[in-house]
């Protein structure tokens, strides 16, 4: 079935196809319509799920954790301040090894108050032990929700998929909806390995002494390593069944390019147009899209960037005091490469607080990178007003 859906509706339809059993959520702009669409789907009888009305995002995630621990497949969604408020519970879900799936609509953090997109909200949760996918289109949002459950439940870790505020959350596209029956062939019902079972009681959340805590963390790391393989498998299997695959990264005209731009989220679509245009004018440029950010697909990134001379990373985020976060990750992934496989890496800060990343801006970045002869590791701010 095809429908014209917004990015937010696509997230809701994804959760519907995956037959989420419990939705626990709190409204925040620009996430609200995800939950409203889920309420519609439940009201129409298309999804059988319990909806928990809560008093804050902290309680929303706690509700998911409780339901998931009781053996249910859960879903929630939030944005910016809401995600920040969830922080304690994000750790809980991950360390509790509960495969909750959540959509986060990328919105800039306050103050000054903004409802527009940037990546600082989700990237600030980088170290909580959640997997993170960055989506580029509404179809990718829907498909990623379904893939997310597959991967999450295979490794017992929670997954966050991220979509840009307004550029994706509130714009319409034709979206193919696999439906529950076909999805069931890909994603079987949730069978937790351990849960609060009346027949076989378990205790969650106990105190862990110094001599075992580290081992818990180590097991999480092993699960993250495995998640990389599972994510790849989940995408391939999805492609076989539904004819759509995205990869963990995507290389666009990058194999022979001297300059490779790196993007995540909706800036990728704009960058593709710019690459086509620059290529038509004879410029040796390509694109690398990062779809999976945690676990970081370091080896794939190394291979994608090995042959080029320079990399221009577009960071719609800023780690104040250090620079763009995607640029940092790529630098550290490439550090151990021999010099001939280690291109210059230029980090660009762009599009914060929803400032539009238009083709001219991306072209300006490509021009700037091509002119640079030294790799000084400095952050470069694009489009700053005096």
């Amino acid at each position: 079935m095809q429908k014209i859906l917004t990015g937010n509706e696509s997230a809701a339809w994804g959760a519907m196809c995956a037959m989420a059993q419990v939705v626990s959520a709190y409204p925040i702009t620009p996430q609200t319509t995800i939950i409203e669409e889920l309420a519609n789907l439940v009201a129409k009888g298309m999804l059988k799920a319990e909806f928990i009305k809560v008093e804050s995002e902290h309680s929303a995630m706690a509700g998911c954790i409780g339901a998931q621990a009781a053996g249910a497949r859960t879903f929630t969604a939030t944005s910016a301040q809401g995600l920040a408020l969830m922080h304690e519970m994000l750790h809980w879900a991950a360390l509790g090894r509960l495969p909750v799936v959540m959509a986060n609509v990328n919105r800039a953090m306050a103050p000054g108050w903004s409802i527009w997109t940037d990546q600082n909200d989700s990237l600030a949760q980088r170290d909580t032990g959640w997997l993170q996918y960055y989506c580029e289109s509404n179809q990718e949002v829907l498909d990623t929700v379904i893939q997310a459950y597959k991967v999450a439940e295979a490794v017992d870790l929670p997954v966050m998929l991220v979509l840009d505020a307004f550029f994706l959350s509130h714009t319409y596209e034709a979206v193919d909806i696999p439906g529950q029956e076909r999805t069931l062939g890909y994603l079987p019902p949730y069978k937790p390995s351990i849960y609060l079972d009346v027949n076989e009681p378990h205790a969650f959340g106990g105190i862990v002494p110094q001599d075992v805590y580290m081992e818990f963390r180590y097991k999480m790391q092993l699960a993250m390593d495995q998640a990389l393989e599972e994510a790849d498998k989940a995408d391939e299997e999805f492609n076989r069944m539904f004819g759509r695959g995205y990869g963990l990264i995507e290389r666009y005209h990058s194999d022979d390019a001297e300059t490779i731009l790196v993007t995540a989220g909706t800036a990728t679509s704009t960058a593709r147009v710019v690459i086509d245009d620059l290529r038509a004018r004879g410029r040796s440029v390509g694109l690398l899209k990062i779809r999976l950010f945690r676990p970081f697909p370091a080896q794939l990134v190394r291979e994608a960037l090995a042959g080029c001379r320079r990399v221009a990373v577009l960071d719609r985020n800023i780690c104040v005091g250090m620079g763009g976060i995607f640029a940092q990750e790529i630098r550290s992934a490439l550090y151990h490469q021999p010099p001939e496989r280690r291109p210059h890496i230029h980090g660009y800060i762009v599009g914060l607080g929803g400032r539009d990343i238009i083709p001219e801006v991306i072209e300006q970045i490509a021009d700037d990178a091509e002119k640079r002869t030294v790799d000084d590791g400095r952050m470069i701010w694009i489009g700053l007003k005096d």
Partner: protein, 275 residues
Amino acid sequence: MAMHYKDFLRIDHMPHMWCPGCGIGIIVKAMLRAIQTVEWPINDIAVISGIGCTSRAPGYLDMNTLHTTHGRALTFATGIKLMRPDKHVVVISGDGDAAAIGGNHLVHSCRRNIDITLIIVNNNIYGMTGGQCSPTTPLGAKAATSPWGNADPPFDISSLCKGAGATYVARGHVGSGVQLERLIRGGLNHKGFAVIEVLSNCHTQFGRRNKLSDPIELINNIVAKTVNVRQAAKMSREELAGKYPVGLLHQDEEREEYYEAYKKVIQLAEAALKR
């Protein structure tokens, strides 16, 4: 006293974002009149808010203002008041901001009896985010999160605050700006935690879903549910069902204000250290 609203407003921030006919405007005007009549130097007042349609008010006020995070205005305000106990702190909050996400801070501010004046705009809904249930949405009412009618019993905010220890509790409504001004002034003059709950109309998000989308009609509907406290005192429980007593509901000038009590602890500690 002639009222010059412009002296209190950031006119360059107009037009405001509120829907035509929204009750928040009536409430802000009543608050400004009350502030003018207590005759405090304007720079001695800080107005704090959380997030929501109501909480946008400080953005339009030409005074010391702090627009904080959803539900936490009272905690920011407590910090300000303890740093500058000689100054005046006013908080303006929606029912969701104050009683849902911020409910914890509400009851603890009441318990401490800190000298802050809190105005709660109770429009029975989350206005800003598009009409989801709040803790004051009536049973059976429709909201974006209750398309089949709300099943969660609502709070009586004024009773909650009285029970939690607030020493000035009043309820007004947008049908009477004059009464509201008087109740807010009483709260400003009170030394201790003062709560003024204001029954207000959100015709856009609450009214639209509940056959009351016309602001006047919704305001009339609110007014019809109110009964003066003095009259309420003579009414039976049955007669009062579904009614909201309005006026000054509770006042206690005896209980010690939080900073006054805190000062004594400081003095004790200082004396002990000197010994």
